[in-house]
């Protein structure tokens, strides 16, 4: 039992990483209706910017704030310059665009900061949290930030004018335009926010997985899995999905014999596929009703 509880706790700790990433993915999915394959690379690039700022002597929280602003602007610029012209193109062409963006960002980051692994500081410290060996204060902080972010987003979408406008633009673009919402800019805003959330995720993850251009590869896969598991239409679901995937992965690694690190990912993915077959819209997602 002791082992079980410990493994669940450790699962929640890694799950927080996935939850963060999943949140960013769902954000952009809400705004543009596509899964952004380059999300992880954008987050990685933002984390490198934060690291660079700190190397130049900017204090942690200032660097954090600056990075958020830069990545917000970066997200908006990417949408305006690269993806706005593709708005009318077929969906699969857009996906190809994401893959292209992925390749570009990864390669540029590799050129600027090379592929050596870098340490990234944490503001929470890394001593054991409440005497538990499995969760450090950093991981506890990470869970806290994820939950705070979730609540903030909830407030934003429920109570602010601009949040409501974004939802309207995503749900019914035509009607939204008729009541005077600039739907084009709402999409750009969605990109900006998703990019900023991704930056937060990257900065939180970096102390755990270390900073390098390929750091997001694995995390992004789990993030996608978490987002799909929780339901792509629900931010709360995606966070829940993130924690569940983390716990899944840990328990499978502990209790199923013969499962090394290599097989953890396939098994976690297989479980998710099974969940999806039973409940195709994810745990918390709702069925999108289409008129035909």
């Amino acid at each position: 039992m002791e082992l079980f509880i410990n493994q669940v706790l450790a699962g929640i700790a890694t799950g927080a990483i996935y939850a963060c990433m999943a949140l960013a993915i769902v954000m952009i999915f809400q705004a543009i209706d596509h899964l952004n394959f380059a999300q992880g690379e954008m987050a990685m690039f933002a984390t490198f910017i934060a690291w660079q700022l700190m190397q130049w002597g900017v204090p942690y929280w200032w660097a954090f704030l600056l990075t958020l602003i830069i990545s917000f602007a970066g997200g908006v610029i990417i949408e305006r310059v690269l993806f706005k012209p593709l708005a009318k193109a077929p969906v699969l062409t857009n996906v190809a665009g994401f893959i292209a963006l992925f390749a570009i960002i990864n390669s540029v980051a590799g050129l600027i900061w090379d592929f050596t692994i870098k340490q990234f500081p944490t503001p929470f410290g890394s001593s054991p949290f409440l005497g538990s060996q499995l969760i450090s204060t950093h991981q506890a902080g990470m869970i806290g930030v994820t939950l705070a972010l979730l609540i903030a987003l909830f407030m934003f979408f429920r109570f602010t004018r601009i949040g409501l406008a974004m939802r309207a633009a995503a749900a019914m673009p035509e009607s939204a335009r008729l009541v005077g919402i600039n739907t084009g800019w709402m999409v750009a805003l969605g990109w900006g926010m998703a990019s900023a959330i991704g930056a937060i995720a990257g900065i939180l993850i970096a102390p755990v997985v270390f900073l390098e251009p390929n750091m997001m590869g694995g995390v992004l896969i789990y993030g996608f899995a978490a987002a799909v598991l929780g339901g792509l239409t629900s931010p709360l679901g995606s966070v829940l999905g993130g924690f569940l995937v983390g716990i899944f992965e840990n328990l499978v690694g502990t209790y199923v014999p013969g499962v090394g690190n290599e097989l953890k990912l396939p098994i976690a993915l297989a479980l998710i596929v099974i969940v999806l077959v039973v409940k195709p819209t994810g745990l918390m997602g709702h069925t999108v009703v289409k008129r035909v």
Partner: protein, 340 residues
Amino acid sequence: MSTIQETTAETQAATVDAPPKKAMGLGRTASWVMLIILLALPLFVRNFVIFQMTMLLIYGIAVLALNILTGGSGQFSLGQSAFYAIGAYTAAILIEHGGVNYVLTLPAAGIVCFIVGFLFGLPALRLSGIYLALATFALAVAMPQLLKLGVIEHWTGGVQGLVVTKPDAPFGLPVSQDMWLYYFTLVVSLAIYLASVNLLRSRSGRAMMAIRDNEIAASAMGIDLSIYKTLAFGVSAGITGVAGALGAIAVQFVAPDSYTFQLAIALFLGMVVGGVGWLPGSLAGAAFIVFVPNIAEGISKGLSGAFFGVLLFVVIYLVPHGARQGAIYAETLFNKLRRS
């Protein structure tokens, strides 16, 4: 937190836009010109280039298989690399452990992959769009790990993989191994291409396309959705398996890490660049995934990824519908010239 969403189908584009029916194949003149180029070119180039052209044809077959699935039946797969791997391993194991003639391994790989694809298509029936993408993606991620499993290591060679001997030209023909393999691949590709074009023009093909355009309307017309959707998966996997088997023979080596998710991405890009639903475009798409990474590497070693991305952006900006768009443009231009 949006709880109520209404999506009107009228304003939303379908996942795959329907290409005009005529556009599934290639015009007669263009086909003959293409065939003559493919037949004649190896006579004038070095062995390495012949090898590259063989790979071009092989990837062309794999892209075509994905095109049948996505362009034909509207389903989306990121797991083609898994079927490619199964095909490659089937061929390698049959040749190395069973001593089977390499020609016979192709249908064997095709049948094995057809069965696997058909079975995988069954649970996939409940999923669509992005969820199907995730399920197939899971398959692609799992495949290299499964191939490394200790239980089957005796057969698969584990992490090391298997070495496949390259076949000699039969009947003492005075051609090099590379050239023989090229023409062998060309014959197989042509057969598959013609069969695929005919498949999409047949009753089954029309049923698949009806499903792609509108599932509800298709089922109202009496089309059995589950049969045709799983069938599309099976056929696509089978063809990919043949491509994988050819690939194993051409590269002379199979190893789990040659068939990662990157391969699935490459095949997907090939399909988009070639034009979704336009079968001849598969060759153009394959050319993109075989040659463009090399070109990008040539421009700059450190920034090869960036140049690859930029080139990809250039292609999708200029021709968002892929090579099909370019071909249609060329055709109208040609007709104009002839008339004037």
